[in-house]
């Protein structure tokens, strides 16, 4: 079982750069060719040119990778022991004695605080808006003085992205298309901050009770 796990982890790690490369190649070479193809026959030609050989093999490798990734992620969610083992491996964390436990504890705390600081910065810059207007001619302001321009600073918050889910309601059909996560960028950042603080609080509370 341990050996199988090891092979799965190796496969996921080694194949990952190839999958990223394949997706980049697909988006740079094939996708534009298909978009630019004028007729359906031309599109079919492009598919036929790339079918067989590397295209098919890459497809199989990708399918296996995604299947194994789903299994691994499911195990990560369900098994705390496996989660700790794998994350320790990924993070190159060694806890061979009490001093190394202290060091990883310090590193985890530092990374958590650094992440929250970065997320707060992102939240701030994503929520604020900034505008600079320069007038070609002097405009009289409300105080009776001539103005060269205006500077506007604003703050806005939107939790959800309405474009993520598309509703089509015609006479002939009703359709719902889920495109991406229906949260706005600000919403995602806020969710991550809440998640990190919440998880830290829960883990600390559980340890204090022990």
């Amino acid at each position: 079982m341990k050996r199988l796990e090891k092979y799965i982890h190796w496969y996921l790690l080694i194949v990952f750069p190839f999958i990223v490369g394949f997706l980049i190649w697909e988006s740079i070479v094939i996708e534009p060719a298909i978009v630019n193809a004028a007729t359906l026959a031309q599109k079919d030609m492009i598919y036929q040119n790339y079918s067989g050989g590397i295209w098919d093999y890459a497809g199989i490798i990708m399918m296996v990778w995604f299947a194994l990734a789903i299994i691994t992620i499911s195990r990560l969610l369900l098994s705390p022991v496996y989660r700790e083992e794998l994350l320790a491996k990924l993070g190159m964390i060694k806890e061979r004695d009490e001093r190394e436990v202290e060091i990883t504890g310090f590193a985890s705390k530092f990374s958590m605080i650094a992440s929250i600081a970065l997320l707060l910065c992102l939240l701030f810059f994503n929520s604020m808006s900034f505008g600079l207007k320069k007038y070609n001619d002097h405009v009289m302001g409300s105080d009776g003085k001539p103005k060269n321009g205006t500077l506007s600073l604003g703050f806005g918050f939107r939790m959800f992205d309405s474009k993520a889910i598309e509703y089509v309601n015609n006479d002939s059909q009703k359709e719902i298309n889920y495109k991406e996560l229906p949260l706005s960028k600000t919403g995602i950042v806020l969710l991550l901050i809440s998640w990190q603080v919440g998880m830290y609080y829960l883990a600390a509370r559980r340890k204090f009770r022990e």
């Binding site: 061979r96 004695d97 009490e98 001093r99 190394e100």
Partner: protein, 78 residues
């Protein structure tokens, strides 16, 4: 006049004891169940061991904890 603040610093004679026994840091580390880096950090005074590890060292060297570790106090005004 401000409050007096006492700082405690733990010192140890692990290097002396290890030299007496003619063992390497790695051998001591194996015997007490830690890494060589931890023994090195303790000898340099960069790491204070837990009570459990202090007892393990005490058992290994057959000395009391007070013989291995000593507290140095410094008092400063806040």
């Amino acid at each position: 006049m401000g409050n007096l603040k006492t700082k405690l610093k733990l010192r140890n004679c692990l290097f002396v004891l290890r030299s007496e026994r003619k063992i390497t840091q790695a051998e001591l580390a194996d015997a007490i169940g830690v890494t060589r880096a931890t023994v090195n950090a303790m000898e340099r005074g960069d790491y204070n061991p837990s009570l459990e590890l202090a007892f393990r060292l005490s058992l290994y060297f057959a000395r009391s904890i007070h013989d291995i570790f000593e507290i140095e106090t410094t008092t400063s005004e806040e």
